[in-house]
């Protein structure tokens, strides 16, 4: 039992070496110990394996690795449970059952991982085209986003955040009437202006939404026209004239 610890293959005493080197965790180490001793997973001699496990992590200098320590604790607990006297008439529930289940499950994962490694190696032996032509110059698509949309999107993200939200945007009543009046005043002054002008400097969400809704309402009533001269250009607002109906 003392000669089987896998010291030779592991060498260094850094705790990290387990993940990077031979073992990918305590379950992997356990499987290794069981294989070395040619033991059945379904009937683990816990006392023996627990001792070996402790010895292995001691020798590997893994004392700082929490994952291994947790498993060591589990094994010691199991060892004690196995020593407790059993009542033979009772249905005895094997305290090892959970560990056995986990080991079988992990063994399967390791098999799949091995299979995947072989596939990945085969795939890596095939090269895709190395030279990729520069992306074509694509003509600018039509406007796809504006500030209102962006703000609404930000709010919908915030609403979807599940954990305690530190800050919530307090909804204020929209002032569509005020914005309508502002737009009408601008329309009197100018035949055409950008929607940005109507927003005013540093607009907040409320005034943006209000202005936008007001513009849409006025457009619906045939008072103004919302245009975009070219893709990505600022949105323009113009007085509705008799001949242009859209």
């Amino acid at each position: 039992m003392t000669s089987t610890a896998p010291t030779a293959a592991l060498g260094a005493d850094s705790g990290f070496i387990v993940e990077l080197d031979q073992f990918s965790g305590p379950l992997d180490l356990l499987l290794h110990l069981l294989r070395e001793e040619q033991l059945e997973i379904s009937d683990i001699p816990i006392a023996r394996i627990a001792d070996q496990f402790l010895q292995a992590i001691h020798q590997l200098g893994l004392n700082q690795a929490a994952d291994y320590l947790e498993m060591a604790g589990r094994l010691i607990r199991l060892k004690i449970q196995m020593l407790l006297p059993r009542n033979l008439d009772d249905e005895w529930e094997d305290p090892r059952a959970e560990l056995v289940r986990r080991l079988l499950e992990y063994q399967q994962i390791k098999e799949i991982a091995l299979w995947m490694a072989r596939l990945a190696e085969r795939r890596a032996a095939r090269f895709a085209r190395g030279y990729l032509p520069p992306a074509p110059e694509v003509p600018a698509p039509p406007l796809t986003v504006d500030l209102i949309e962006l703000l609404e999107a930000a709010r919908s993200v915030i609403e979807g955040i599940p954990s305690p939200v530190l800050h919530r945007v307090v909804p204020r009543p929209l002032d569509v009437e005020g914005a309508t009046a502002r737009l009408e005043k601008l329309l009197e002054e100018k035949a055409e202006f950008s929607l940005r002008e109507a927003f005013g400097p540093n607009p907040d969400l409320t005034s943006l939404l209000s202005t936008f809704l007001a513009a849409l309402e006025l457009a619906r009533r045939g008072r103004l026209r919302v245009m975009q001269p070219k893709p990505f250009a600022p949105i323009m607002v113009a007085r509705e004239t008799a001949d242009a109906t859209r």
Binding site: G25, Y106, I109, A117, R126, A128, P133
Partner: protein, 195 residues
Amino acid sequence: MKPLTQLVEAALFSASRPLTVEELAALDSDATLAEVRAALDQLREIYDFNQHAVELLELAGGWQILTRPAYAEAIERARISLRVPKLTPAALETLAVIAYRQPVGRADIEEIRGVSASGVLRTLQERGLIEVVGRSEGLGRPLLYGTTPQFLEVLGLEDLSNLPDAEELTVALHPHAARTEDEGDEAAAYVPAES
């Protein structure tokens, strides 16, 4: 070579990833999906028949031209191109858990592997092999992970149903889940995200 086959070849040469039949059909507004498939067949036959060093393969739901494996060593030795670095055992195991149990949260992955998964999950995400596919309804609504098309590409798989013995493994990986007979193997192996 038919004109559509030429067009398909040019597009596949210009793409950095497998292209779907639908994407290829967009090359020619007159082309039907069946015609695109026929063009792909013709191209594959030409590469095989004329013994080209490249071949046309179906993977990750699309089609891609790749060099045949026989040349990898010489190319690497001549320092012309390098194979992608191998995945670590930790990465492979984590991918295996996610591939079979997706959508799956970090706690389940850690329970199965017996080690912390945060570092490896992040690496796999940055490499584009896994992605967040939703949130669990459970306490704290933890993120749920699933594999990406890139995962299929790296393994050279057509789709997730190519994973081995899906039904058998899935049953074994869900020892407490009572399964009804009529559940198909693919459905059992892959549960799409609800989002």
